[in-house]
Amino acid sequence: MNILVTNPTSRLSREIVQSLTFAHEVELAAGPFSHGETQNELVKDVDVVVHSLQDSPSIDESERLDQAMRQTYNLLWACVQERVSRFVFLSSLSSMKAYPENYIVNEKWRPLPTTEINGLCFHLAEFVCREYGRERSIDVRVLRLGDLDWDGKTGSDSVLHGADAVNGVMRAIEFDLEPGSWAPASTWNVFHLQSGDPLKPSRFSTRKAEAELGFIPEGIQK
């Protein structure tokens, strides 16, 4: 497959590219994503786009919002025009953290975003993705990632080990979803991804990702 991964400054993007290059043609692309012909050129003959939002203290809130809303819209618009078949957006579980910690929250629960700018941007980018998925012109998959941890030192109750994150993204890229018994597979899917903990259950249920994508979290390295 031809795969385009955005956000080269992110370690996760770079790790995804490294894992994909063994079996796929991969390009890493930086924004800003405009709406001109060059944008269509970027995704021409691409099969899957993996998109995430750039996170840097040097980006002000207006630019973050522009990236989350307009640039995500532009990228999806170009993907639809060029018949890209799948769009994977890397979001965050932050919008689900307002629920009490003892609730087993899965993808069926309503997001409760706050106005903290990073969380709000994830929510608004999901909002853009959802309308494209609803129109069924592209297969949109949102992965709500737990708190990324590359060195096993994060104490979060919704930690996502780096290797598990890469594994989950790879599954979302490569796996075709099974159709339902009376309907085709949905073109809008949200999956929660976090690493398991051998000592306590995950705060956020990852059962959907396990059942439909074959996601198998390896757990936090103790």
Partner: protein, 249 residues
């Protein structure tokens, strides 16, 4: 009440100004340089966060009439980020009442409008990906999230098609009932919703973010305006029947 109006030089702005200026102190703002009228005016691009925050200092309410349709960059800047800037300004200055506006497909996009009837405002938003609807819908979602996280109320008024009052109605030869949109209202009736939206007590609003369809009483049954009458007390005065009724039968 001191009221900041964003996008006051648009088509609806002068009508809203007219119904508010007697009872309220107005600060009108628009991206345009000029304004010829009796109220205070400031040139302001709603996409300028600090500019909006500065203009909102000392006001009691904000009315957002800003809108831009065709240009993709500016549509997101004005329709979506403009709402963020307005809500940030409201939070920073403790402004308790926001009036947002938009087209009906801010929530009821083609998935509803092309298929359904009896469409109320109590539906999950589905704008579709059309630029105008989608950018306004994002703006509304920003308003909703702010209302859920801060001590303020958002009242959103949705419009679609505006008509002249019956005193100024076009000649019969120019009326085509097949072109009539069953979500129409006169400019004057539309403007009369604004004082009601500004003055309704918080306790009379069912939630901190309420949406109202503003169109005249029509027999088509595609959309509902009953909630606007019941909660806001808005009563349209012109049912525009010259557009959908035959005199000769």
């Amino acid at each position: 009440m001191k009221i900041l109006i964003l996008g006051s030089n648009g088509m609806l702005g002068p009508h809203v100004e007219r119904v508010l200026q007697e009872d309220h102190q107005l600060l009108l703002t628009d991206v345009g340089k000029t304004y010829d009228g009796p109220n205070e005016y400031r040139q302001l691009d709603v996409a300028d966060l600090e500019g909006v925050v500065s203009a909102a200092e000392g006001v009691d309410a904000i009315v957002n009439l800003s809108v831009l349709r065709p240009d993709r960059k500016v549509a997101f800047d004005v329709n979506s980020r403009g709402c963020y800037n307005m809500m940030e300004a409201a939070v920073r200055h403790g402004i308790p009442r926001i009036i947002n506006t938009g087209p009906h497909f801010t929530i009821a996009g083609p998935n509803y409008e092309d298929f359904e009837f009896n469409i109320s405002t109590e539906i999950p938003s589905q704008s579709g990906t059309g630029l105008y609807a989608h950018t306004k819908s994002l703006g509304q979602e920003i308003c909703r999230v702010y209302s859920e996280n801060h001590d303020l109320h958002v009242v959103t008024l949705l419009f679609y098609n505006f008509k002249e009052h019956q005193d100024h109605k076009p000649p019969e030869s120019k009326i085509d009932p097949h072109q009539f949109v069953p979500f129409s209202v006169t400019w004057e009736d539309a403007a009369r919703a604004f004082p009601l939206a500004l003055e309704i007590p918080d306790a009379q609003l069912p939630s901190k973010c309420e949406i109202f369809n503003i169109f005249c009483d029509l027999p088509h049954g595609q959309f509902q305006n009953e909630k606007s009458r019941r909660i806001l007390g808005w009563v349209p005065t012109d049912n525009l029947d010259q557009y959908w009724k035959r005199d000769s039968v």
